[in-house]
């Protein structure tokens, strides 16, 4: 036999699947991991802007003003959220992340005039103090949830689902459940904590309507209420969230991250962020609520171009999670202490991975001190350094977003529109309902 033929990899049972089967056969248990989907899905990279030329008039790319102010929660709240930029920080728990990281996120968000969000386990004092605008999550677990912190919040986010694991709950493995985390969550130290997949006090949209009214009553109708949904049946879910009374709907696509969940969830549930935003906008338009209820899009947003495309497709703002952690050093081969790089490649190897490929947030042994509760590791991400890094990153993507908006002739990033975009692939064209570049063909439109 030809040796090349004998080395042909089986498409169905390739090396990745073989490793999966060998591990399942060895351990009898599925993999849990952090971060988001690694498989290829159509993304915002499959879209490009039709910037100005003869038919449109551009603004000067660096100097002319381009507004980024963003207002969220105008439907019912007495005090809508006013942000300087449409880029917010997603909910990530103290427990999944260290206190240093939460502090750095709060400080950087505040310096950039945007909001950050609590997470499972409740609100820490450091987080509240460092964050000018803080969104308080109401999660199914209700770990650490209390009315005092609720009243201290600037907005409320009811988490129905998450893009990485819609329909599934969370898991915080024992190594991350130190004394403080355990106390905040009213559970024994060191046990593997399950975060429930459904709320304890309501089940469907009719109940949620009353739950939202309860939260409004307790906060005297001051705070905007967001409803966060993992992107699955987006159209129905957005309409039901609006019917339930949401001021803001947060849609989290399948590329969204998690601190820990089953790999089978991360890779095999939900729909990508690209079609999710189009479906959400369609849903609001069908019930005449577009512009009245704001949309926040999350799930794998990384660059200023991503943000600009999300806004052009109809989002009012985006929310970043994994990219924030990466700005703080996630997956870097080194951490920085007193301006010196300390190489930790060998520690990645100990975890069974290597820099650039790590998704071992669930272990609590993050070599760069981002997703850990171990004091020795936590020290590796200093809040001062992290604040500077994250602020720089947010500033960079804000500048990228505005330069694209100006090139499309907009003096306000919220004036970006669908007509500014075309798709490079058939899949992206069909999912976003945009013309394939160089054609006027939108797959699925007009029956073709």
């Amino acid at each position: 036999m030809n040796p090349d033929q004998s080395r042909e990899e089986n498409f169905s049972f390739n090396s990745k699947i073989l490793n999966y089967i060998y591990q399942a056969a060895e351990t009898g248990v599925y993999d849990i991991r952090g971060l988001g989907a690694k498989r290829h899905v159509p993304t915002f990279d499959d879209l490009v802007f039709l910037t100005a030329s003869m038919s449109r008039y551009p603004l000067e790319g660096y100097r002319e003003k381009c507004k980024t102010k963003t207002v969220l929660g105008t439907r019912h709240a007495k005090k809508p959220i006013e942000l300087d930029i449409p880029i917010t920080i997603a909910g990530m728990s103290f427990g999944a992340l260290s206190a240093n990281v939460k502090e750095a996120i709060g400080r950087a968000a505040t310096e950039m005039g945007t909001s950050t969000t609590t997470g499972d386990g409740g609100m820490t004092q450091e987080e509240r103090q460092s964050s000018k605008t803080l969104v308080y999550q109401v999660l199914p677990s209700r770990y650490g949830f209390n009315p005092d912190d609720l009243r201290k919040a600037d907005a409320i986010e009811i988490v129905v689902g998450q893009g990485a694991k819609p329909g599934g709950g969370g898991m915080l493995l024992g190594l991350k459940v130190g004394k403080r985390v355990a106390e905040m969550r009213t559970l024994p130290e060191g046990i593997d904590q399950r975060s429930a997949c459904r709320h304890p006090d309501w089940t469907g949209p009719d109940d949620l309507t009353i739950k939202i009214l309860e939260l409004r009553e307790i906060t005297d109708w001051k705070l905007p209420i967001y409803v966060k949904i993992g992107a699955t049946r987006v159209k129905d879910d957005v309409k039901l969230a609006v019917k339930s009374g949401a001021d803001v709907v947060v849609i989290d696509g399948m590329q969204g991250g998690t601190a820990a969940t089953q790999e089978t969830f991360i890779e095999h549930t939900g729909i990508p962020t690209l079609p999710a935003i189009r479906l959400a906008v369609d849903a609001l338009q069908e019930i005449d609520m577009y512009g009245k209820v704001q949309l926040i899009l999350s799930g794998g947003i990384r660059t200023g171009a991503d943000v600009a495309k999300a806004l052009a497709l109809g989002a009012d703002a985006v929310s970043l999670g994994q990219a924030v952690l990466m700005a703080l050093g996630c997956n870097s081969p080194h951490y920085v202490i007193e301006n010196d790089n300390v190489d930790v490649t060998s520690e990645y190897h100990t975890l069974g991975t290597t820099p650039g490929y790590c998704h071992h947030c669930h272990t609590g042994r993050c070599p760069v001190g981002v997703t850990t509760q171990l004091p020795d590791l936590e020290k590796r991400m200093h809040p001062e350094w992290g604040t500077r890094r994250l602020k720089n990153y947010l500033q960079t993507i804000t500048m990228e977003m505005t330069t694209l908006a100006r090139a499309c002739g907009n003096s306000n990033v919220h004036h970006l529109e669908r007509e500014d975009l075309v798709a490079l692939t058939l899949e992206a064209a069909a999912m976003a309902k945009l013309p394939l570049a160089g054609t006027d063909w939108i797959p699925g439109e007009k029956g073709i």
Binding site: T27, G28, V29, I32, S141, R142, F145, N146, P147, L150, M171, L173, G174, R185, T186, L187, P188, I191, D192, R194, A196, P200, D201, W202, D207, I210, K211, L213, E214, E217, I218, T219, D220, W221
Partner: protein
């Protein structure tokens, strides 16, 4: 002491809740809420050592997130009475629908009649005393505190329990995953006696059974039987 009447025939839930929220956190007055007529979200987010009597049937989330206040509902209530309560005492003279006392961190909830399914779900340190029966999946994932049931418990009792303890006087129609019946010890009899006294129920602590977590889920492993095939 002055007794102030609030009337839902002439005032809105919003007006009444705002009135309570404007009280000083050390205010000790007594209030009556007349004509609740099944309204939702009455007396939510209270934080003062006041006494409130709700005279009639009420809807969902009554007395939610209560702190300090002593609230009595002279009737039946809908879903999630006293949800996420932090302290104080809530008493339902009638029956309670689903999720009574869910995720309560502290305080005492007493239900004179039956409570429907998921009573005490996710509780985190509060105490719940039910004079009658409870529905299925009660104390699901309950983390801390006590659920005392003077009647029967439907199936799935204490499913996925953490550290909360359940006492049942009547029949247990089925335990949930990882819940098990355990021997009553002296501290259990004392606790049951204390809860019965607080609720003013007259039963013999020796009639109660104890249900607690078998703790096989505390550490995630292939041996923890995290799936069930019926």
């Amino acid at each position: 002491m002055e007794n102030i009447d609030l009337d839902l025939n002439t005032q809105s839930v919003r007006e009444i809740n705002q009135f309570f929220h404007n009280l000083n956190s050390s205010d000790k007055r007594e209030f009556e809420i007349l004509h609740p007529n099944g309204a939702h979200n009455i007396a939510v987010g209270l934080d003062a050592p006041i006494t409130v009597h709700i005279r009639g049937h009420a809807g969902y989330f009554i007395a939610g997130m209560n702190k300090q206040a002593e609230i009595t509902i002279h009737g039946n209530v809908g879903w999630s009475v006293g949800e996420n309560m932090m302290s104080g005492v809530i008493r339902v003279n009638g029956f309670a629908s689903e999720c009574a006392g869910s995720s309560g961190h502290g305080g005492l909830l007493i239900i004179d009649g039956d409570a429907s399914s998921r009573c005490g779900i996710s509780m985190k340190g509060s105490s719940i005393v039910v004079g009658g029966n409870v529905g299925h999946m009660s104390a699901f994932m309950a983390q801390a505190g006590y659920l005392l049931i003077c009647g029967d418990a439907d199936h799935g009792l204490g499913d996925s329990l953490y550290e909360a303890i359940i006492y049942v006087r009547g029949k247990i129609h089925g335990l949930g995953t990882d819940a098990r019946e355990e021997q009553m010890e002296e501290p259990d009899y004392n606790k049951v006696s204390e809860l019965l006294d607080m609720a003013k129920f007259n039963y013999d602590p020796k009639e109660f059974k104890r249900v607690a977590s078998a703790k096989t889920f505390y550490h995630w492993s292939p041996n923890s039987k995290q799936f069930s095939v019926l």
